[in-house]
């Protein structure tokens, strides 16, 4: 005996009753209280047979093993880097896991990854208290140079990627950009022209905003078609000022500090 009280794809708030009776079982995002199944969060109902789950619509990143993430190097000591992956704790990348090259003991770690660098890394382990271990050994894991990074709500990542990468593939195709999507909601976009990158970023932000809307793939496709090659290039810069003195500080690699 049991009644389901909500519909597939209905938006529910925490504490909302989804079903009563013992027939239905709470899955991810739902819990049972006596004979009722109740939503645990703000999200969208998804029913699979007798399982009711609530797909989150918002929320910060919760690190999980095997996730590909885009992180920012925050700090380092003699043997590891501390990398912000968007969670309360930084992830730790040990020098043994940093690259397929061999790093000698006592080597200058900042030569590989310096504070402020963005990297694509993989989570190898998450402890009970959510300490995070990272690796950068593996295909596609690397320092991200150039381009820009957009932060979206991590729960929208599957929508941005699409079934078998179809959505993100479409954006890559239309904008000619390299795009890397981290499970932590950070997306790296790198293209030849800033206008291409901007178009890709706009498309990604649009997916995030309209992720619950049906027919999204078509909407994004027409958005890309409409704006491809038509995004206004920024106007000509004001005439450069004659600049006599004080060079900005640079480190010995010539990169601006």
């Amino acid at each position: 005996m049991g009644n389901i009280l909500v519909e597939e794809k209905q938006i529910v708030v925490p504490g909302e009753v989804l079903a009563d009776g013992m027939d239905f079982l709470p899955a991810n995002g739902a819990f049972r209280e006596n004979d009722k199944v109740i939503s645990m969060r703000l999200g969208m109902v998804s029913v699979n047979g007798r399982l009711i789950k609530v797909i989150p619509l918002t929320g910060k990143y919760v690190p999980r093993k095997d996730d590909l993430v885009i992180g920012k190097v925050q700090d380092m000591n003699y043997s590891s880097w501390f990398i912000d992956v968007g969670y309360a704790n930084d992830g730790m990348l040990n020098m043994r896991e940093a690259t397929s090259d061999f790093i000698e003991r006592g080597a200058e770690l900042s030569k590989y990854y310096d504070i402020g660098d963005f990297v694509a890394a993989k989570i190898t382990n998450v402890t009970k208290s959510k300490m995070i271990d990272l690796t950068m050994k593996g295909p596609g894991l690397k320092k991200l140079v150039g381009g820009r990074i957009v932060q979206i709500t991590p729960v929208k990542v599957p929508r941005v990627v699409g079934k078998q990468g179809s959505m993100i593939g479409m954006i890559k195709q239309f904008t000619n950009c390299q795009i890397l999507v981290g499970q932590n909601g950070r997306v790296w976009v790198s293209g030849k022209e800033p206008t291409d990158e901007h178009l890709a970023v706009e498309a990604i932000l649009m997916i995030e905003e309209k992720s619950h809307v049906s027919g999204l793939t078509d909407k994004i496709k027409s958005f890309l078609e409409q704006h491809k090659g038509k995004m206004p290039v920024a106007s000509v810069a004001p005439k450069p000022v004659e600049k006599p003195f004080v060079k900005p500080k640079t480190d010995n690699q010539g990169e601006r500090k």
């Binding site: 820009r148 990074i149 000509v236 810069a237 004001p238 000022v241 600049k243 601006r256």
Partner: protein
């Protein structure tokens, strides 16, 4: 939300480009000014939005003894609190140097420009004068708090009226129709230098990548009435000249919103 490295912003700026496709001298849109957002309690109040940056400001008044060396003058007081509500960057606690700088720059623009005639704030010489207190709070800090806070303070002042004074004591429950005497509006604009190019209304990322900045306030007549330089790097005289011209243009634009 976008996260852009300093390097990238500089690379773009060298070409005269910005990550959000704006022109270098373009403000974010929309810019809105709303008056009377705390009309029940504040003597004057306003909310300013410049793109995603949102700031509220309110005016409260007080009467008291004047300073002994200026017995016929009232005064103003400007306070900015960088609310932890408005950004993950801010923590609870006493005002940081950033909050203090913001408050003092806004204060300078209003006080030193003589936009308020302090003599008009005098009730009884040597005995009783008005103090106008302006409190400014960011609600969402997304870059360019200098201009947003200054604009919000001005809007709140414009909205403000004196409460009733009964036997030298304020009756906050009753308002008069008399506005706080603003001789003119000292509108300010902050110009930033990134990779030797000038830009206006930076996002937070652009602000963090900025080499130097100059805030310039103008009277309606086009005279400069306050300035403040910040940032790690210097300006040349020619740069300052160009900046002042750009700021003059931009403050005229901003003035229209008040």
């Amino acid at each position: 939300m976008l996260s852009i490295s300093k390097q990238y912003i500089h690379t773009l700026a060298k070409k005269g480009l910005r990550a959000d496709q704006r022109k270098m001298e373009e403000f974010r849109k929309p810019i809105t000014v709303e008056y009377g957002i705390s009309a029940k309690s504040a003597e004057g109040s306003a909310r300013v939005k410049i793109g995603d940056t949102e700031v509220v400001a309110g005016v409260k008044t007080e009467v008291g003894k004047p300073y002994p060396d200026s017995p016929g003058d009232g005064t103003i007081m400007v306070n900015v609190e960088l609310l932890p509500l408005s950004s993950p960057e801010y923590e609870s606690g006493p005002p940081s140097i950033d909050a203090i700088e913001l408050a003092r720059v806004v204060d300078r623009g209003i006080r030193e420009s003589h936009s308020i005639d302090f003599k008009k704030l005098c009730v009884t010489e040597g005995e009783l004068v008005w103090t106008i207190m302006i409190d400014i709070y960011p609600i969402n800090a997304a870059g360019n708090l200098f201009d947003a806070c200054a604009l919000a303070a001005l809007a709140a002042l414009k909205d403000a009226k004196f409460p009733k004074l009964e036997n030298d004591v304020i009756n906050y429950k009753e308002m008069t129709e008399i506005s706080i005497p603003l001789e003119f509006l000292p509108v300010s604009c902050t110009i930033h230098k990134i990779a030797d190019k000038f830009l206006v209304d930076p996002t937070r990322d652009e602000e963090l990548a900025s080499d130097a900045r100059l805030t310039v306030a103008f009277t309606e007549a086009g005279k400069i009435c306050a300035m403040q330089k910040g940032g790690d790097y210097p300006f040349t005289e020619e740069e300052i000249d160009k900046i002042v011209n750009l700021a003059a243009e931009k403050t005229s634009e901003l003035r229209q919103f008040l």
